[in-house]
């Protein structure tokens, strides 16, 4: 791909991003969202997060891995437990990573 083509790609990726993020905001009042859809949107954050998280934690090499051999799943479970106990986002991130590294690389000693 030539330098020019590459930058054309970048511009188009940016336009695709702006279209999806800003498009509906620019539609203004002319576009009416049905009330039922509007009330479903309240659940969008939880569903979008779950849809991003689940494949990351449950799949290993593209296959469902629910066993103890899946370090990412165990680290995610540790993260959930830490959050429920501490309500700390930082604790969830660092505790989960610590659990992951312990499982992956073993105990340091």
């Amino acid at each position: 791909m030539s330098e020019l083509e590459l930058w054309l790609c970048f511009v188009l990726i940016t336009l695709a991003t702006i279209a999806t993020r800003s498009g509906l905001l620019l539609a203004g009042r002319r576009l009416v969202i049905p009330p039922r859809v509007e009330s479903a949107l309240r659940y969008a954050p939880a569903c979008a997060l779950a849809a991003i998280i689940a494949p990351d934690l449950l799949l290993a090499d593209g296959q469902l891995q629910l066993g103890l051999g899946n370090a990412r799943l165990l680290a995610g479970a540790a993260g959930i437990a830490i959050f429920l106990l501490s309500r700390s986002t930082i604790g969830t991130i660092f505790g989960g990573m610590a659990a992951f590294w312990l499982l992956k690389f073993g105990l340091p000693c």
């Binding site: 695709a16 859809v37 309240r42 659940y43 569903c47 990351d56």
Partner: protein
């Protein structure tokens, strides 16, 4: 409670995003490294990061660019991967309808997964929060800075940052901390379970369409559970704040957000 100034609200937005920044940072770092490893130069990767500010679209485009796919295929892929932002935009548009077209476009452009969840949490707790634009900008600014700084560090340090440490897991863990408090509501919990199952089951779909399908199925499941709960479910109807909307129902007011950051 005194009326917050725009400055207060902006800083509150920054403050409430801070706990999740290590996750955003780790993701930005991994994306930066991936861009350089796929063959982009430092100026190219930096340009893409600053222009698009769209991690998943960038990652999806990389193998296509490396494989010299037609330009329109790259653009189409980015469009489809970004479709979840349509759902976000549909939610936030009600709160910003009074602004000029330019400002609305800008506010839409700077949306990110983490700051969007924070913004929804704010409006769920305080549907009439007067400085929501300033709050949104504060959260968006913190999200943008964390992402871009990390992304550029990843681009510049691609050769020295280890790729086998699983750093991207930190980003996933930040999202875990965002989603767990939302699950206290039964409809949202149903949505989370269904969206997770669909996302895993539909992993084979091209262009990450499984993600969009999962979000839609999850929202439908949440609505179905909400309708079985009777009128109680209606009380949470705060998606589009308007002057007639009632105060938040106590059962929903206690749920999202990070309790450790509430005054």
């Amino acid at each position: 409670m005194p009326e917050p100034t725009p400055r207060d609200a902006f800083l509150r937005g920054v403050r409430e995003l801070l706990p999740a920044t290590p996750g955003v940072f780790a993701w930005g770092l991994v994306t930066g490294v991936a861009m350089v490893k796929s063959g982009l130069t430092i100026p190219q990767a930096t340009g893409l990061s600053l222009m698009a500010y769209a991690g998943s679209a960038q990652l999806a485009a990389l193998p296509l660019i490396a494989g010299a796919a037609p330009v329109w295929v790259v653009a189409f892929t980015a469009l489809i991967v970004n479709l979840r932002f349509l759902v976000y935009a549909a939610y936030i548009r009600g709160g910003f309808a009074h602004l000029s077209a330019g400002r609305r476009a800008f506010l839409g452009y700077v949306v990110g997964d983490v700051m969007f969840v924070r913004y929804v949490a704010l409006l769920t707790l305080e549907p009439k929060y007067p400085q929501r634009v300033a709050y949104y900008l504060g959260a968006a600014a913190a999200n943008w800075i964390a992402w871009q700084v990390a992304s550029i560090l990843g681009i510049v340090g691609a050769d020295v940052i280890p790729t086998d440490w699983g750093l991207e897991l930190a980003g996933t863990l930040a999202l875990v901390a965002l989603v767990v408090p939302l699950c206290a509501q039964r409809p949202a919990l149903a949505g989370v379970v269904v969206a997770s199952a669909v996302a895993v089951a539909a992993r084979g779909l091209p262009l990450r369409l499984g993600l969009l399908l999962a979000v839609i199925c999850g929202m439908a499941a949440a609505l179905a559970v909400e309708s079985t709960e009777g009128p109680k479910g209606k009380a949470g109807h705060t998606a589009q704040p308007d002057p007639e909307s009632a105060a938040p129902h106590p059962s929903t007011a206690a749920l999202p957000g990070a309790p450790e950051h509430r005054p």
